[in-house]
Every structure is written in structure tokens, then in C-alpha cells.
């Protein structure tokens, strides 16, 4: 029987991390050299973990599926990175950042983890500045900040609309430095197919060399998963097409509990679906809501060009419904409000599934140059994709699947339920509760990798200094490699008629319709049935061309989609179990009279962590109660 122990240290909230850090055991430099650590993923959390651990002197092996670590999807984060520097003198503090995140997450995250994330945020900014990350600056040469959704202070550091790129490249630089020094070995173009567990501890991974198809064994004293979120389960999402759940899912199959799978953020400002062949949705940063105003026509079936619709006939519905926060309400609230207007028949565009994001007033006030300085690359991106010039007419936007708050369950040390297996960044569940606030993902990923994991993993490895290098001829490696091979053979053997992508699209549609922005008991039950049917069909009808022993992009996709059926099913199971609405999880049955999410703190103030029991088996739910000692649970209001 698994018992969840969050290992939250005792003591006052503000002292927990510093006190705990000083109590953690250390590994002496001579012993670090003898210890191997595997890091899977080279996004902000993976690359920061790998470089920080390399600097400490561990032997690090790091893996990514792209041709270079610099391609990881952190690169696409646009708007910014939060920190509690209070440079604007507007009342910000570590406590305020913590409070905003707890409230923004609709009281479904751990206080201690969130406080720590807020606490290390300031070091992250210092670190990036020292590495030459060119954040925006004011005329005095100081770092500039801007506002983001769900908060009333200005704490978001940014580099135009490509903050993720700049932070990732900074981290990629530190990683490259360690690779050059030989402390980190880089393995590009590898997919992790399985986790190897020996005597209950994570000891290695099985990878597929994507260029040759060869299965490879890699061993270590500890394994860190920094493999991102599973938002591509929707097929159409703001994520890179290669982003996937398979590494985390392999760990889940091997016993790592998966927490809050149904908490998926639907981002309110994406470019809407334009055609049937669409392969992804492109985000328009939340920072745009600083200056852009969201509206729909007051009349249904409005046919006029948006510029022809007079002010009085526009419904600025966010400003109307949420006067205190206006266009800067959190993402879940903004997304549902857009859906509500479109479902009621006020949506714009051919499909009626979009709303306007208008910069007319901002351009009048700040000039075109002012807007261009802040969002130039985003406007350009919009223009390229849609062919429409947003300096001259409003953007059209609609919500899209974006970020997964759910992920592998971890304790305060960022360790999963498998000893020696850690999870950092978006692949864990820990800091964002039921809804993530903008610009806190880059913050969490860098904090986890640079300033948290290097301390906590040492405490575990202090017991491993006598463990000799793990040999890859152990029978657990044989078994794991055999299982991976059988799965691939099974996929190749189907030899049906339909492409992998066609299944992925259909799965995505099922989840978007039944486990998307609004969920219901009936809908979720139906969703599960439909997923089962589709999965059956997949294993009878899918076509994976060529062979497994070569570079085969279709096989890569097939392996990932095969796992997505299970991920989708668990999302529905969790959404069905959670008889309340909170954050991004909105159950039709549980809403206030004004249509806002209605939480049920008495029964659901817990983390839901699931234990894998085999394909098609209902997973076993374990609950970690959430204790709130420092904030008062109240209805989240942005009115």
C-alpha cells in the first residue's frame, strides 16, 4: 500500500526552506564524481538541473529527442518570468507572490512548495542576468517589469515576447559549458521508452536512438524527469508537436503516482483554428492583455468588419464581468468567459469560435512604436499566420490547450513515489494547483532545476556513495528493454490503413469536447467509452510505415499516441471523480449562479494521485490532504 508523504518540513512557512536546506545531507566532492545522474529533457528545468548538477561535480547524462537541447519547448514561452523583486515599489513580496499563486491555483496546491517557488524566484532573475539574458530594461538601465493576469502588481520580467527563448538559451549556454567541461554527457535524438527500477529504486532508462532505431541502456544512481507536460493529448494545442507524455507515463506504469491529471490549462489567447489541416495552435502571449481589450459584438450575427462596429455596440465582457481585474483576469476565467460568449452566439469569425483582442486604444495612447517595442514579434507572428495586420484591425483569438498543472506526484524534495526518481518543471504537479498564473512556469522550471533539486537530490545520494556504478546487464534492464521492443513490434505488426495522426486528431477531439474547458458527468463517461473504442481501433487499424530499425518519424508518433489513450482516460477518470469545480477544472454541475467555479473544500481539498494498474484498469486513487495554515480558503473573486 502506497502511503503519500509530502515530507513538508515543520516550522513557520517563511523559514521552512532555509531551515530544511541546512539540515540536508551533503555528498563530498570526491564522492560526487562517482555518482551518475540521468536527466531526461533539456528544457528550462532539465537543462538547469543538468548544468547545476554538473557544476557540483556529479556525472550527468542528459537526453533530448530533438537534434539540439536548444529546441526544447520552453523556447516558445513568450510573456515573461515572475519574481518577487518589488522593483516597482508596488507592494510586492515573496508572500504576495505566494498568495497570488495559491489563490490563482484555486487553493489546490501545497503551501510549502508554492512559498519556496516564490522564495527562489529572485535568485533566478539574478542568475539569468549574470548569464547575459537580455531582459528588457528601462532608460536608467534597470530591469523592466510588466503586469500579468491574476495579479495586481508588476512583477513579470521579460524579453519582448520571447522570454522563454532567452531564458532557455541562457540555460542552454550553461549546459553547453558543462558539456564542454565533460561533467555532462549529451545524448540528442533519443526517446525515453522505459524506466528501469532495481530493488525499488530508479536506476536507469531505456532509450531509442531515433536515427538508428537502436534500443539503448543507460544507468545511474538517480533519474530526473524534466519531460514537460502532456497538453498535446488534445492534438491541437499550443505545444510543440514533439512534446509528449511518454517518458512520464513510462514512470507512471512503473509505479510513480500521477497527480491531478485533469488539471489542464486552456489558454485564453491563441490564434483560433483556421482550417481542417491545422497541426497546432499558436499562442498569443497573455502579456497582450495588458494593452489589448477583449470584446465581442453586442448583437448576434454581426456582419460588419470589426473596425466598423462603434464603441457603444461592443461588449467588453471581461471588463463588464470582472471590473477589478478587467482584461487581466486569470487564464481559466478568461477562457471560460470567451467560451460562454461564443456558445451564446456572439462569437466572431467564420466559425463563430473566436473573440476580438483589440489594440486600437493602446495604439492611440502609446503610439505604434510603443506597442511594437513591447509585442513586435507577436504582432509579426500573428500577421504571418493569419495574413491580417493587428496594428490595423483587432486580432481574433480563442482558447487552446496549453499547460498541464497535473503531472507526476512529487514530495517536497521533488521526488516521485519511486525512490531515486525525481520530476522537475511542468512534468511534476507541484506548484500551480488547479490553474497556473502567467509567467510562473519559467519561474518554477528554473527554480526547480537551479535552486531546489541540487539540494534535495544530494540528501538522497548521500546514501548512495557506496553503491558502485550500476551495471546495465542487470535483469531489470533486460526486462525493460524487452518490453519496449515488444511494444514497438506490436505497433509495427498492426499494419492497418489509417495514419497515426488521424487517430491522434480523433483522440484530441474527444478530449476537447468531453474533458476540455467545461466538463460534465455524462460527457466524461461518454468520453471514456469513446477513448476505449478508439484505442481498440488504433491497435487494429494503425499504419506505421517502414521498419523499426531506422529513422522513422511515424513510429515515434505512434509510440506517443499509444500512450495518450491511457493519459486521456486517466484525465477523464480524475475529472469524473472530482465533484467540484476548481481552477481549470470546471464541472457544469458545480457552478455559482454567476457561472463561476464552485469549489467543495470540505471534500476535495486534496491532491488526487493515481496508481497505475494496467491498461483499461481503473486506477487507484490516493489522496494527499492539502492543509492551509497561512491563507484563508475563500471563493476566488476577480470582480
Amino acid at each position: 500500500m502506497i502511503k503519500l508523504d509530502s515530507k513538508i518540513p515543520k516550522g513557520p512557512l517563511a523559514d521552512k526552506w532555509s531551515d530544511y536546506k541546512s539540515s540536508l545531507r551533503l555528498v563530498n566532492p570526491a564522492n560526487k564524481k562517482k555518482i551518475d545522474i540521468i536527466v531526461v529533457g533539456t528544457g528550462l528545468s532539465g537543462a538547469s538541473s543538468a548544468s547545476a548538477l554538473g557544476e557540483l561535480g556529479y556525472n550527468v547524462k542528459v537526453f533530448c529527442f530533438q537534434d539540439s537541447p536548444r529546441r526544447a519547448h520552453s523556447v516558445a514561452a513568450q510573456g515573461g518570468i515572475n519574481a518577487a523583486k518589488n522593483y516597482k515599489n508596488d507592494g510586492d513580496s515573496v508572500y504576495r507572490l505566494f498568495h497570488d499563486m495559491i489563490k490563482g491555483g484555486d487553493f489546490r496546491a501545497r503551501e510549502a512548495n508554492v512559498y519556496r517557488a516564490a522564495e527562489v524566484s529572485n535568485y533566478v532573475i539574478d542568475h539569468f542576468a549574470a548569464h547575459g539574458v537580455p531582459f528588457a530594461r528601462d532608460y536608467g538601465g534597470m530591469l523592466e517589469t510588466r503586469s500579468f493576469g491574476g495579479v495586481q502588481v508588476s512583477r513579470t520580467f521579460y524579453a519582448k515576447g520571447q522570454t522563454g527563448q532567452q531564458c532557455l538559451l541562457g540555460t542552454y549556454s550553461s549546459l553547453s559549458r558543462q558539456i564542454a567541461k565533460g561533467t555532462v554527457t549529451m545524448y540528442e535524438r533519443r526517446d525515453m521508452l522505459d524506466l528501469v527500477v532495481i530493488d525499488g529504486k530508479a536506476r536507469g532508462i531505456i532509450t531509442r536512438n531515433l536515427l538508428t532505431g537502436e534500443l539503448e541502456r543507460h544507468s545511474a544512481h538517480a533519474v530526473v524527469l524534466a519531460t514537460g507536460g502532456y497538453g498535446t493529448v488534445f492534438y491541437l494545442s499550443t505545444l510543440a508537436l514533439g512534446s509528449n507524455a511518454s517518458a512520464a507515463w513510462a514512470a507512471h506504469r512503473k509505479g510513480a503516482l500521477f497527480a491531478n491529471p485533469s488539471f489542464i490549462q486552456i489558454h485564453p489567447t491563441s490564434i483560433p483554428v483556421l482550417n481542417d489541416y491545422q497541426s497546432k495552435l499558436t499562442l498569443m502571449s497573455e502579456s497582450l492583455r495588458n494593452d489589448g481589450r477583449v470584446w465581442v459584438p453586442k448583437e448576434k450575427d454581426e456582419n460588419r468588419h470589426p473596425n466598423q462596429i462603434p464603441e457603444a455596440e461592443r461588449d467588453y465582457y471581461l471588463e463588464r464581468r470582472y471590473p477589478a481585474f478587467g482584461n487581466l483576469v486569470p487564464r481559466d476565467v478568461a477562457s471560460r468567459a470567451a467560451k460562454e460568449r461564443c456558445d451564446a452566439g456572439y462569437g466572431v469569425g467564420d466559425s463563430g469560435l473566436s473573440v476580438y483582442l483589440d489594440f486600437k486604444d493602446a495604439i492611440e495612447k502609446q503610439g505604434k512604436k510603443g506597442i511594437e517595442d513591447k509585442y513586435g514579434n507577436l504582432f509579426e507572428m500573428y500577421m504571418k499566420i493569419t495574413g491580417i495586420n493587428p496594428y490595423e484591425e483587432p486580432m481574433r483569438i480563442y482558447p487552446a490547450g496549453h499547460y498541464t498543472m497535473g503531472g507526476l506526484w512529487v514530495d517536497y524534495n521533488l521526488m516521485t513515489t519511486i525512490p531515486g526518481l525525481y520530476s522537475v518543471g511542468e512534468s511534476n504537479f507541484s506548484d500551480h494547483g488547479a490553474n497556473r498564473l502567467g509567467a510562473s512556469s519559467l519561474m518554477q522550471c528554473s527554480g526547480d532545476g537551479y535552486f531546489i533539486l541540487p539540494y534535495t537530490i544530494g540528501d538522497y545520494l548521500a546514501d548512495e556513495i557506496r553503491t558502485p556504478r550500476i551495471q546495465t546487464d542487470h535483469e531489470e534492464f533486460d526486462k525493460a528493454e524487452k518490453a519496449a521492443k515488444e511494444r514497438i513490434d506490436r505497433l509495427m505488426a498492426v499494419n492497418g490503413k489509417q495514419t497515426v495522426t488521424s487517430f491522434h486528431k480523433r483522440l484530441g477531439k474527444i478530449l476537447w469536447d468531453h474533458c476540455g474547458m467545461v466538463r460534465s458527468k455524462e460527457g466524461l463517461q461518454k468520453g471514456i467509452e469513446m477513448i476505449d473504442q478508439l484505442e481498440d481501433e488504433f491497435w487494429k487499424e494503425v499504419k506505421v510505415p517502414a521498419t523499426a530499425g531506422e529513422y522513422n518519424q511515424e513510429l515515434e508518433k505512434a509510440i506517443r499516441v499509444a500512450d495518450f489513450f491511457e493519459v486521456g482516460r486517466l484525465m477523464c477518470q480524475d475529472a469524473l471523480d472530482r465533484d467540484e469545480s476548481c481552477g481549470a477544472h470546471f464541472r457544469e454541475e458545480y457552478q455559482t449562479e454567476q457561472g463561476e467555479a464552485k469549489r467543495n473544500d470540505a471534500e476535495y481539498a486534496h491532491v488526487s494521485a493515481y496508481e497505475y494498474k494496467g491498461n483499461r484498469q481503473s486506477e487507484i486513487l490516493h489522496k494527499e490532504p492539502l492543509v492551509f495554515e497561512n491563507v484563508e480558503l475563500k471563493e476566488r473573486s476577480y470582480k
Binding site: R70, G141, Q166, K280, I385
Partner: protein, 250 residues
Amino acid sequence: MEFKLKIWRQKNASAKGKFENHTLKNVSAEMSFLQMLDYLNQQIIESGGEPVHFEHDCREGICGSCGLYINGRPHGPVTHTTTCELHMREFEDNSTIVIEPWRSKAFSVIKDLVVDRSAFEKVIRAGGFVNVNTGSAQEANNIPINKKISDRAFDAAVCIGCGACVAACKNSSAMLFVSAKVSQMAMLPQGKVEAKDRVEKMVAKMDEVGFGFCSNTYGCEYDCPKGISVEFIAQMNREFFSARVCKSKR
């Protein structure tokens, strides 16, 4: 829309490649270039063939994975646009589109349209970083940086490492790529400390891994999807010579 496609097919690095012809019907003007290739691959797979391999990931112009030679131009006909941001409305209906991988001595073909860009990694590893360990950074606002300089560093830092500059250059020069990193770091006080050492190491590595000299044709700037200026090459040359001069004085 309908297109005739001439696509480079090559089984692996050692195989001999050739152009393959396809006629693709019912293409929508709204499709991106890569969606058009997805659509083609869908048809190839359904008819029992092997799909065309090409690299892509974010599909929003920032990861730098995609990069095709389209009608003889890296990333195709639209300036400041990556292959994934290119849309079919930019092409004339019923025209022929020639699609090739990057052609460069330093980037060998892996399969079809996929090339090996690991030479870029080697150059970055030679010195494209600041030697500061985690934990030793000072308070960020202790070092003010003139906004103009900071903005200029940002203009260099937007490089996505796609390789178009190399593909555009008849000498296969990577000087735009290398100079973007060298200049970004050299301009900022944080990177200045090691600027001289850095430029020497990166330039030496750039030569070693097979990139050629600058051809002075500015093709790299013209085809760079992020519009990085060749002025950074001039800046790198300045940095390089000043490093050399300082060294000879020492």
C-alpha cells in the same frame, strides 16, 4: 490549389539522393508549408509509401528545428519567415515547388530533408557562455545596462540556430550565427570579462568544424528568418582582431 512538388529523397547519409515528383491537389491557401507536407505524407502513407522526413517542432518560428531549401531559398520566398510560418497563399497556384535540405559541407544529410547541424553545438560549446556558476550571481540590478546596448544585445540574441545563414552562403560560412552569440555576450558587462578569450575560441572552432569564410554577399542576413544584421559580423571581426592585438602585446 494544386502544386507539383519536386522533393529531395535520400534514404540515409551514405545513400545517393534524388528528386521525387508529386502532384498535390486540394491544397488550401490557409495551410502552412509544413501542414502541406503533413498532407502529402498522409497521402503517401495511405498509399503504402514512406513519408518524407523533415524536422519541425514548435511550428511557430522559434525553436529553429525546421529549415528547408524552397525554390532555391532557405525558408522559402518570404523574408523574415521560418519554413513553419510560411503559408501556401504565398505560392502561385499550379506552380512547381522544389524542396531540398540545407546544402552545406558542414551539415550532412541524415535522411530526406533532415540534416546534421551538430557543428553548431560544437561552436557554442567552445565558448558561447558566461563562466558563472549557479549561486554566485549578484543582485540583478547592481549592474545597470544602458537600454540601447541591452536592446542591441537582444537583437543579436534572437538567433534560433536554424542554419539558414550557412545554407544561404556559398562559402557555407557560419559567421552570422557565431557573431550573434559573440556580439550579444561582448556587449553586455556580464559577458565582457571573457570576451576576448571567447571570440578566439569560437572562431577557431568554427573554422575547425568546416564552416567557410564570410563571402561578403550578405545572403545570410537576407535569408535569416530573424533578420539578424551582418553588422554583428563586423563586430565579431573587431572583437577578434582586438583580441589578437591584445595577445601580441602580452
